[in-house]
């Protein structure tokens, strides 16, 4: 259990860092706002992300697998439009880190 960093540093990742990761950044920002969690969200490509430090990494499952253990929270999603699913995944992950009640 740990204290949640304020603001959370979040990376959304995809192959190029321009398209999918940007769409995902928008969904993540909206969901975190709803959850009342302060965060700085940055969209980037997978190879840049390998050299970056973050509290949370969000991307498609095929990209996030390799990040397991590299950040406290790693969330793989398949549908950027499913904000309820994203909120559920983030909430569960934050709870298991002790970042949320």
């Amino acid at each position: 259990m740990s204290t949640r960093p304020e603001p959370l540093k979040i990376l959304t990742v995809c192959g190029v860092g321009m398209g999918s990761s940007l769409m995902l950044r928008m969904s993540v920002e909206e969901v975190l706002k709803r959850m009342g969690v302060a965060a700085k969200v940055e969209a980037t490509d997978v190879s840049s992300a390998r050299g970056m430090k973050a509290d949370v990494i969000v991307g498609q499952g095929l990209h996030t697998e390799e990040f397991t253990g590299k950040a406290p929270v790693v969330v793989g999603i398949s549908n950027f439009m499913d904000k309820e699913g994203l909120e559920k995944q983030l909430t569960e992950a934050f709870r298991s880190e002790g970042w949320m009640e």
């Binding site: 995809c14 192959g15 321009m18 398209g19 769409m23 995902l24 991307g59 095929l62 549908n79 950027f80």
Partner: protein, 151 residues
């Protein structure tokens, strides 16, 4: 919205044929090539990126967002939307089959941010379904033009 959106090239086409995902990406890039927004090398780069990185461009069920990098041959900020006559498989674990393919190009790392933000917002309010229901290019074009305005 910004001047960038006013000046962006938007082109939509309805019910295009494509035998597989590679053909679907080329079909989505074709209107951008016709409009002079991308160079002839760009569509093949969009295909190559999926071959290299996997089918992550299928970002929601039935919807793909094809693109490559600015240096791969982009002249103008542009988005195309193409619906497919028959859906194609991208070998995505969850989001196949795909019948709405967007292609975009940005001349640099920043110009597309507002445009894609607007596109994301319109997708969340059902743009893909509205495009699927469009029977001709003119109807699809009118629907895509909504992206110039914030959702």
């Amino acid at each position: 919205m910004t001047d960038d959106l006013d000046g962006a090239v938007l082109v939509a086409r309805a019910h295009r044929p494509a035998d597989d995902w590679r053909a679907a990406i080329h079909e989505a890039c074709a209107p951008l090539l016709d409009a002079g927004a991308i160079t002839e090398t760009y569509p093949a780069r969009c295909v190559a990126l999926v071959e290299e990185q996997g089918p992550y461009i299928v970002l929601a069920p039935g919807i793909a967002l094809a693109h490559a990098r600015p240096e791969d041959g982009v002249r103008k900020l542009a988005v195309a939307a193409v619906t497919l006559h028959d859906p194609v498989e991208f070998a995505h674990p969850d989001n196949d089959p795909v019948d709405v393919v967007f292609a975009f190009g940005s001349p640099d790392a920043d110009q597309h941010v507002d445009l894609l933000s607007s596109l994301a917002g319109h997708l969340l309010t059902g743009l893909a379904d509205r495009l699927r229901a469009a029977d001709d290019d003119a109807t699809a074009q009118r629907l895509l033009e909504e992206v110039r305005n914030a959702p």
